[in-house]
């Protein structure tokens, strides 16, 4: 069991919504009107009798405008429960909005995922990756494993609009990422 937990933040309608990362009994909630700063303690979650401190994430802060189940000593909460609503206005220093990862397609060639699933760069944990940046990839060559519905699928390079040989400029997902169908796996350059 973890020694501390960090709440999950969602930005919605100009507010930050904080949710717990697990299921448990939430206690020692901050009061309405108090200021929650990034990384500040926001009570604790009891899981199977053990008290685990809960902290605000580093990308959210603000004045507490709403507290879930306010006034109760301990409230059962789940992964979807909104514990706190924070208004970042008047929180003093501005909180940097989480910038969407600059996914500007640089107009180059992209090998996209044929299906949604979990991306694995290696054939097995103790083996080297199928590809690394700078490699030349050819039609039919294995690119990655995709775990879909608990089945491992070997994804091979190729497809309409792609050259038979290309140089790997970037591998987009990190090992273990969940990716959608059509999401870029490789950015490519002329070989």
């Amino acid at each position: 069991m973890s020694e501390s937990l960090v709440a999950r933040a969602e930005a919605k309608d100009g507010l930050f919504l904080l949710r717990p990362p697990t299921v448990g009994l939430w206690r020692e909630a901050p009061r309405k009107g108090s200021l929650v700063t990034p990384g500040a303690p926001i009570g604790a979650i009891e899981v199977l009798g053990q008290r685990i401190p809960l902290f605000a994430p580093h990308d959210a802060a603000g004045i507490v405008t709403e507290v879930f189940d306010e006034g109760r000593a301990r409230s059962p909460v789940d992964y979807a429960t909104v514990l706190l609503r924070l208004d970042p206005e008047g929180a003093g220093e501005a909180v940097a909005a989480t910038a969407a990862a600059g996914d500007a397609a640089e107009g180059g060639l992209v090998f996209a995922s044929p299906m949604s699933g979990r991306f694995y760069a290696k054939p097995s944990p103790d083996q080297p990756a199928f590809l690394k940046v700078g490699d030349v990839v050819e039609t039919g060559q294995a690119v990655c494993l995709l775990e879909v519905m608990k089945t491992f699928n070997r994804v091979t390079y190729g497809g309409p609009g792609l050259p038979a040989r290309a140089k790997v400029a970037a591998i987009v997902p990190a090992d273990g990422d969940d990716i959608d169908e059509g999401a870029p796996i490789l950015r490519l350059e002329e070989a």
Binding site: T22, L25, V47, D78, Y79, S124, D126, V148, M149, D178
Partner: protein
Amino acid sequence: MTEASSSPPAGLFHRLFIANRGEVAARVARACSHLGITPVFGVSEADADAAYCADHERVVLGPGRSAQSYLDPERLVQAAVQTGCTALHPGWGFLAESPRFAALTEAHGVTFLGPPAAAMLLMGKKTPAKRAMGKAGLTLIPGSEGVLADVDEARAVAEEVGYPVLLKAESGGGGRGMRIARSADEIERAFAEASGESLAAFGDDRLYLEKLVERGRHVEIQLLADKYGNVVHLGLRDCTVQRNHQKLIEESPAPLLDDAERERTLAAAIEATRAIGYVGAGTMELLQDKDGTLRFMEMNTRLQVEHTVSEMRAKAHGQPIDLVEQQIRVGAGQPLAFTQDDIVLEGAAIECRINAEDPSDDFRPAPGKLTKFELPEGEGVRVDTHAAPDYVVPPFYDSLLCKVITWGKDRDEAIERMIGALEGLTIEGVPTTASMHLAILRSEAFRTSAYDTGGIPGWPADADGTADAAKENG
């Protein structure tokens, strides 16, 4: 689905936590409703809005990934405790066979609806399990002494028992995490793939090894035991029709079985179940070899997907036996209300698992939205499902959409009814395996039971529509 309005009978649980998802959760909830028990669903974020749990109490456990939802023991037990549940049903798959999960559940005052953690641990450890089963009179398959330390040990054991061999997940089930090695140069890759898949599916990468018994048939015994040493069986099932060790079609009774061998094995299975102090529903999986001998493979310490075909045939005192209901009663400490002599097994039953997979594209799993979902009805037809029109099949879990089960006075009638039912099944939006099932059911090889684990009868179908089972089984 509506909430049960009545209270459960005295001595049964009022609230029961379902630590599973999809069709399994829907099946357990149905038994709860019959008994007047309120089910509480533990769901992942991906399942939170699904129709099958929409009218029920839910606890959102975590994200779609199973490791942080359906495979996290602490979250599940905490969720059960904080919602006031006094019993937890693990279903099948996920943590259903985890002794640690069973023990954790019980330690927090919640009744685990499965066997005692100790019996589970014993059956989960393959060598002690085999030893216990052998002692009770079951015939065994040669293989490794427990889990393999590494690929070198796998190679050594394989040399000893002889190739081909099968590498199997210690915590496995449902065919995940298994690979065949036919020679020494295949073992390294088989080992790596099986352990990787095991880790992803079961959170445990340990493997064991067995000699591969080829051209056999997969037969299993449904068992049920209470806390007082009473053990009964609900007959045998044949699950020989498999693809990549995934069962496709299951039926009961098992065809092609010698009466004496069946009776000998059933008696030994009951004796073994009693000897290990087993409680609840369980299944002994056996391999029927070319000589007709039934060899013990493993005991699944849980209910199985295909428990339905046994339910379709079994009656006690004129009433159908609901195995989930029996699990709940036994878990609450009730003795079995029937003996082996009270159980009547009638007719024949068959089940087809309809998956969201594309048979024309190497069974590629196909998550997506069901634009049309119409189920067959009729005499002797049962459909177990969690899906509904507009249901979105999430990419995180297995691809089962529904199970179609039919009963007939004999095997032929059950098959004819299944063909009719599958013709009446309309699913659009994702490809399904229904067409493959129809090809199998219509094949001569399936109708005459002339097949084994070496191939799927009637599939792939030839261009002229006739089966190439002769080639598969030649």
